[in-house]
């Protein structure tokens, strides 16, 4: 399989489906595991890393996942492909630009990936659209059991699954939920959300872009404590308390905008539309920032029945745009915007274009793709 087979479309977890999908983009569970009888990677020679890679690759490629699986060698991959895999959330930045023999096993529908020789010998993850942590948990647990039948994991009765860094010790679980919170941002309440999350020992990162900045108002919320609390308790806290509460705050901020600040809302949407429909050069950061306001407008229309002058113009524009699906016009609007978010990211643009492009040419191509989707 080639990466271009998947690069021209968005993946399942970003397709606007699943519970609370207007706010919760996706749910992800990752498990960190190491092999018993082997050193952790920082102390392994290249030959030892190659042995671990080969052994785990063979085990993973033999899994029955109900989908085609393929393997990509990361140490041999071209830089553009590595950037693409990071944009797609199939591998971490650390894995892409680390050292030594390493690889990734990916299910074609992208709900499962396994990084071999990242910080730990094995990091498996399951991703689904919307708030579906219990389903992720059930699936990843099954896959973990299948792997465990074929290998011995490093495990201690006291500390649980032993990981290279003590911060992942115990369950080795990282539960992450990706959220789109544009209304909280407009209302100036995002800091409150960030502080509350930190008080609950949760980590907040941006979904796209470098480091912690949250481009396009996308935030990724994850647990930091992995020891002394069971997988079930962590997942249940996220699914039943933390996430529904945040969604409620975001929805309240959206209602507030509609009730008291229509001019502010319409101004954001109209400015975003004007720029996106007319710009001939647009950076990735600017595109994410502006598309976020369009996504907010469409979701408010679809989920709250919002119908302000700017939202009406936005929906008409998108209905007249490039993609047509008469069976389900509502789903089409949000899919169009979701596609634009992902397909205009730098590595997606270049992979779909067929060769690397300098930043200016990328900005031209990005602007062209967006104009054509919004102007028809």
């Amino acid at each position: 399989m080639k990466l271009t087979d998947i690069s021209s479309d968005i993946n399942e977890w970003f397709n606007g489906q699943g519970p609370l999908a207007d706010t919760v983009i996706s749910s992800r569970i990752r498990l960190a595991r190491n092999l018993a009888g082997h050193k952790f990677l920082s102390r392994c020679s290249t030959a030892e890393k190659s042995d671990i890679l080969k052994m785990l690759k063979d085990v993973l490629m033999s899994l029955e996942l109900g989908d085609k699986i393929f393997y990509i060698s990361i140490d041999k991959a071209p830089t553009l492909n590595k950037h693409f895999l990071v944009e797609r959330h199939l591998i971490s930045r650390h894995h892409a630009f680390g050292k030594g023999p390493r690889g990734v096993v990916i299910a074609k529908r992208e709900f499962f990936t396994a990084m071999i020789n990242e910080e730990d010998h094995l990091r498996i993850q399951v991703l689904k659209g919307g708030l579906r942590l219990s389903q992720c948990a059930e699936q990843i647990n099954r896959i973990d059991d299948m792997i465990e039948k074929k290998v011995d994991y490093a495990f201690s009765p006291r500390f649980g699954y032993l990981t290279a860094c003590p911060t992942n010790l115990g369950t080795g679980i990282r539960v992450s939920v990706m959220l789109h919170l544009p209304a909280l941002k407009i209302a100036g309440q995002i800091e409150k959300f960030l502080n509350a999350a930190r008080d609950m020992d949760l980590a907040v990162r941006g979904l796209f872009g470098e480091g912690t900045e949250a481009a396009g108002d996308f935030y990724q919320l994850s647990n930091q404590v992995t020891l002394g609390i069971s997988e079930t308790d962590i997942i249940s806290q996220f699914e039943n308390t933390i996430i529904p509460e945040i969604v409620e705050y975001e929805n309240a901020a959206r209602s507030q905008l509609l009730a008291n600040q229509i001019d502010v809302l319409d101004d954001k949407i109209s400015r975003a539309m004007a720029l996106l429909k007319n710009a001939h050069l647009i950076s990735s950061q600017e595109a994410l920032f502006l598309l976020s306001h369009l996504r907010l407008g469409i979701n408010m229309h679809e989920h709250m029945g919002a119908s302000t002058p700017a939202i009406e113009r936005l929906c008409t524009s998108i209905a007249a745009g490039g993609d047509k699906d008469t069976d389900n016009p509502d789903a089409l609007s949000i899919t169009t915007i979701n596609r634009l978010f992902m397909l205009t990211l730098p590595a997606h643009l270049q992979l779909n274009y067929g060769k690397p492009l300098d930043p200016t040419h990328r900005d031209v191509l990005r602007a062209k793709i967006i104009r054509s989707a919004l102007n028809g």
């Binding site: 082997h38 050193k39 495990f155 009765p157 006291r158 010790l169 002394g228 069971s230 997988e231």
Partner: protein, 165 residues
Amino acid sequence: MHCQICKKNEATIHLTEISDGLRTETHLCERCAQKQGIAVKSQLPINELLSSLLAVQPADDELFGSSEKELSCPHCGFTLDQFTKEPVLGCPQDYDIFEKSLLPLIRKAHNGKTTHCGKIPSKAPADTKKQIELLNLRQQLDAAVQNEDYELAAKLRDKINQSEK
């Protein structure tokens, strides 16, 4: 918006003070806020956390009369000094060998917890499973005593006694 004090960095801390009905707003960068003694809860990078924890270890070393700081793991050659540079261990055995030094860090990183609770590999021997169950019960017992829930504590104590038989 720039910080009102250094006028250089982006202001990320916004304070609103209401005194005698008068409202004043102050916008500061993280560094100037800290200088002003305004607490900022931020996620401490793991290696900083480690350095600060390892720095307070000598007292413990004297207490236990041994120094893990000098120790090198016979399996992988790992030392605590290397840990402060890159916060990863060398092999699974390091958790046993450097347990005393690692425990404060583990406690800090995991909200006071130091015992696994959750999935156990199905291959794990029956006595390992029993051991984990006991450890969890003891942890629950400690919490119950701390919360002065003596009824629950008594129940847990009975359960522990039964498991140990």
